[in-house]
Symmetry: C2
Subunit: 307 residues, 2 copies
Amino acid sequence: MAMASNKTLFAERLAQAAELVEVRLSALLAGPSLDDTPRRLKEAMAHAVLGGGKRFRPFLVIEGAHIFGIDPANSVSAAAAVELLHCYSLVHDDLPAMDNDALRRGRPSVWKAFDEATAILAGDALLTLAFETLADPATHPNPEVRAQFVLGLARVSGASGMVGGQQLDLEAETAARADLHTAAGVQAIQDMKTGALIRFSACAGAILASATAAEVQALATYGSAIGAAFQIADDLLDAGGDATQIGKRAGKDAQAGKATWISILGIDGARARLAQLERDAATAVSVFGARSDVLAQAATFVAQRQK
Amino acid sequence: MAMASNKTLFAERLAQAAELVEVRLSALLAGPSLDDTPRRLKEAMAHAVLGGGKRFRPFLVIEGAHIFGIDPANSVSAAAAVELLHCYSLVHDDLPAMDNDALRRGRPSVWKAFDEATAILAGDALLTLAFETLADPATHPNPEVRAQFVLGLARVSGASGMVGGQQLDLEAETAARADLHTAAGVQAIQDMKTGALIRFSACAGAILASATAAEVQALATYGSAIGAAFQIADDLLDAGGDATQIGKRAGKDAQAGKATWISILGIDGARARLAQLERDAATAVSVFGARSDVLAQAATFVAQRQK
């Protein structure tokens, strides 16, 4: 019964965070800083950002901040900035020159719904809006925290983070980069491409709260574990999924000849690794006691999700 | 003789700024934050950034800061960040889905020298690196200044600034947006696409110096004037230029059916407007007395440049 009620608490908090973030994202996209934005560009940005996604990264920001007593109303702008950054990366990844995905979250991707130029520009604009939002005094009263947040987010999302990971992921499709088809190669790609931003999201609340280095580190360890778990769960879903379930073409990685956790560890090995990461995540945040129950449940959600 | 020596001073300061910025850009691209960057991505970023360009925007940042007694060594990082942002915009603008330019500064553009995916990612990485650089405590000791700089740069370069201007510029090629082929339309596109970043560059030194609002405004007025002058001079060059002189296909705007200052004002009208903007720029910075001589000379350079 305790387990069931905890699960309900997590689902409730995730839904609350998603709703808060959706409202904040809508406000940002209708806000004064976009008053002079060309209509078509604004529509493309809204298409990319609104009405979809679990908002898992913003949830981590809000829940991480909540550990330190920060009200969700005071972390939602930073959470929305992280989501803007995540959405920009999806818009650019979907482009024909990149992953060439016509579908995203069961809808036409931005380049398909608009055109390639508009999609490139919408991504650029969302990335820029993420940093604008973080630097805005309305997001946090302390400029030191704002600058630190910009610096941290830029590091995990730039050339040695998310963007670099996407570059490696594309190179992994070529025969010349067979070195990337190893466990170490797959790990490096995934750490950079998706892991770093999830880890940052988990730490973000601690940054907002000006928490101690040890507290930031505990959440970073948690974030690393769930980031890795997220990707293994993705690979497991991809191996058995269909387009209806996961909103994109199934088995695409296998078709592209990319190594995945399944091809490296096998199904059973991947499941065992996933269970270990779930335990690692829970252990990392156990220092926060009952305040981190929801984050521990989130790790279970990541490890056991069906879509 | 006084005129000649002033011109020499401007040329000297522009060359000094360019050299300082080149060194700083090289250091940023070889710095620890790019240690984990995939080699090909790093090469594409360097191709986009190093070894070309007048570095006019960084010159404005450095010279604007110099008015307030800031040593170039202490403004060059912010200046480099502005240049990174400018370079990202060129990389994305050149893409086949956008302006489809195979040449940039007389060399293959990034997508041509590498590939489209790498060019998209290199642009994303440069944009992100610009904000990372600005948020870095090494750039300025005061976090309030760093956050304000991020906010200001994001506003002029995002959906209602540079990115929005590029969107309008592309839409102006279509028959549906004949409204953009008017003086007001051309003005709006150019203000957003190039004017806003030049204006910001001119104000940037005042931000670094925590100058008064009136001082920031004087430099903003100056920046608006030279930004507009820059574009009219470009149109005049484009109307009479060839690929050797300006490093890109001449008369391209005319081919694309876009309105330009020449098509709206005629050659003589455009020249008269240019001369007026040159005077406006000099007047705006005259409040700084002799300290702004170099900036006044820069306005003359913009209005009279031959390439």
